[in-house]
């Protein structure tokens, strides 16, 4: 596993935090209340470790949003929450209290939209930094165990073994909600990303 050096890690974290800033602004506008988003840490890990970390945080299933992306590096981007946190987030944002234990169809749509904004903002910020274009696909709602979700992301011509793992903290109406952004990459894409980071770093230093 290629580890990021400190400089690469700092620059990526900064790019994602910039992205989260603009995502928070868009979300605040939609729900007409203050939302703040931050990425306290990120790391490159293998898929197995990522699954373990996600399961550590909850006994329940995960709910979230996934979208594919293509550009100088390709893969799948996912925003994942423990199921009960996704309920809380959506209901805080919709200012709604439905006494149901799972998301209704339109709450899933709402989560889709939230995830889409956050994932696009993150990828957009990376694209800006690298001066390139990263295209994203239409997001889809996803729910299940970590294993089920990860397996569903594999397609015939991609084996995602490497994970860029970000914790995302939401602060909305005095509630703290912790989500995770996961970029599933294949080994080549990960190399492309680290190369891009090195090129960027050599330009600015």
């Amino acid at each position: 596993m290629n580890k990021l050096n400190e400089l690469q890690q700092d620059i990526l974290t900064e790019a994602f935090n910039l992205g989260m800033g603009s995502a928070a602004a868009s979300l605040s506008e939609i729900v007409r209340s203050e939302i703040s988003l931050s990425v306290p840490n990120l790391t490159f890990i293998d898929k197995h470790t990522a699954a373990e970390r996600l399961s550590q945080n909850t006994d329940s299933d995960l709910s979230g949003v996934s979208e594919g992306f293509t550009g100088p590096f390709c893969g799948k981007a996912l925003l994942l929450f423990p199921a009960e946190q996704s309920l809380e987030l959506v209901r805080l944002m919709l200012q709604d209290s439905v006494p149901l234990e799972s998301l209704t169809a339109f709450e899933e749509e709402a989560l889709n939209e939230i995830g889409n904004i956050i994932l696009n903002a993150g990828l957009g910020s990376l694209a800006d930094m690298f001066g390139s274009r990263i295209e994203t696909e239409i997001p889809t709602y996803t729910h299940g165990s970590t294993k089920e979700i990860f397996e569903a992301q594999n397609s015939a011509n991609s084996l995602h073994d490497v994970v860029l793992f970000l914790q995302v903290d939401f602060l909305i109406k005095e509630s703290d909600i912790n989500g995770f952004v996961v970029y599933l990459l294949d080994v080549d894409s990960m190399k492309d990303l680290t190369n891009l980071l090195d090129v960027y770093l050599s330009k600015i230093s």
Partner: protein, 398 residues
């Protein structure tokens, strides 16, 4: 090897697109419409030739267009796809504004850049009006059910605390009434004739019954609300059974019922509250006596079944009718005994017994045959580390 589909001509693809049940619009970098499918034509009454090369602003007049246009720009400039749900704003899409009638639908919109094309994006519209109506209905039903449940819980709590308060307040004056009646009966203020004594006895007996009813209600409420204190310790089964039969001996003589006891050969220990288990056995023994005929025997025994001690109370009485079996542990449930000796009962004994046994991680059950008799048995786990821990956990969580 890659398989080639037989669908490779534009006409078939056009036909597929025309039959889709979604609106499909393609826009260019200036947000001018470049494609408008048949669904859009039939829903809006606007034909494709009328909108091609028209700006989206001229076709849709809608305040939410700001949000849609933002997503369109992102798709064209950055290549980002977007999903716009109706969840965050109650937005309706006026499907046309250049004709008299405007059809408004609640849309779900997906926007994506078109691959291999420069600066074109696709907008897909799905009409979710009917689904939104259904979901709103579902939400209101769920909310009503939730409010109903909350109200019922509040009411039940209110009732419990009312019962507890009232019962407590009743007990004080009743105790002094019983005391006074007892003194009268004892001849402290002089003798009474037979008729007077008779009335006095009725008053005394019924006051005692009332007190036992109030005590039972208080017990039940305390166990249910978890405010009663259980004094758990290791207790000997044989000791408990001996205490229970000797305590009932006087009553047995009074009603002409013989209580027999079979002890365990090797005594066992359970982790329990001695007084409360005694209360359970007293209740089962007096019930058995009430529903037996004079001169009959009620057997009390214990035996070990795996990790449990089974305490049985067996009578040869009238048996429990089928219709009564399912409600036997309900509060204020009483079966008529043959000679109406159950007039002394409160109908709460078994309800309390069941709660007490369950606090011991035990089980109460019965077998009964009409005309042949009934056996009630109480299964209590024998004292072991695991069981003691479980019971302690139960007590902590109420």
């Amino acid at each position: 090897m890659k398989q080639h589909s037989s669908i490779n001509n534009i006409e078939i693809l056009d036909s597929i697109i025309d039959q889709t049940v979604h609106g499909l619009i393609v826009l260019d970098a200036e947000l001018k419409i470049q494609y408008w499918n048949q669904w859009m034509e039939s829903r809006s009454g606007i034909y494709s030739y009328e909108v091609i090369n028209q700006s989206i602003d001229h076709v849709f007049a809608n305040s939410n267009l700001i949000r849609i246009k933002g997503a369109l720009r992102n798709a064209i400039d950055k290549g980002h796809s977007a999903s716009l749900s109706q969840s965050f704003s109650d937005f309706k899409l006026g499907l046309y504004n250049n004709k008299q009638k405007t059809l408004e639908i609640i849309p779900q919109i997906a926007i994506s850049p078109l691959k291999d094309s420069s600066k074109l994006c696709l907008m897909q519209i799905t009409d979710v009006s009917a689904a939104v109506t259904r979901e709103r209905l579902l939400k209101s039903i769920a909310n009503e059910a939730h409010l109903g449940k909350e109200a019922a819980e509040n009411l039940s709590q209110l009732k419990s605390s009312f019962v507890a308060t009232v019962s407590h307040e009743l007990r004080t004056p009743l105790t002094s009434m019983i005391g006074s009646l007892g003194l009268l009966k004892g001849g402290v203020v002089g003798d009474f004739n037979d008729a007077q004594s008779n009335l006095l006895n009725i008053a005394y007996r019924n006051s005692e019954l009332l007190l036992s009813l109030i005590n039972s209600i208080l017990d039940l409420e305390k166990i249910e609300s978890g405010t009663i204190e259980f004094n758990f310790k290791n207790i000997s089964i044989n000791d408990l059974l001996e205490q229970a039969t000797s305590g009932m001996a006087g009553y047995g003589e009074q009603v002409d019922i013989n209580f027999t006891l079979t002890l365990l050969k090797d005594d066992l220990t359970v982790y329990g509250d001695y007084d409360k288990l005694l209360q359970v056995l007293n209740n089962l023994l007096s019930n058995a006596a009430k529903f037996s005929q004079k001169g009959q025997t009620v057997k009390l025994y214990a035996k070990q079944i795996k990790h449990f001690v089974r305490i049985g109370v067996e009578d040869k009485g009238q048996g429990i009718p089928e219709a009564f079996k399912s409600t036997i542990y309900d509060k204020f449930t009483q079966l008529e005994s043959q000679d109406n000796r159950n007039a002394n009962g409160t109908g709460l004994g078994l309800a309390i017994a069941k709660l007490i046994v369950e606090k011991h991680n035990g089980k109460i059950d019965f077998k009964s045959v009409i005309g042949k008799g009934t056996t009630f048995y109480v299964d209590i786990p024998t004292a072991s580390e695991i069981n003691i821990k479980n019971i302690q956990k139960n007590i902590q969580t109420g």
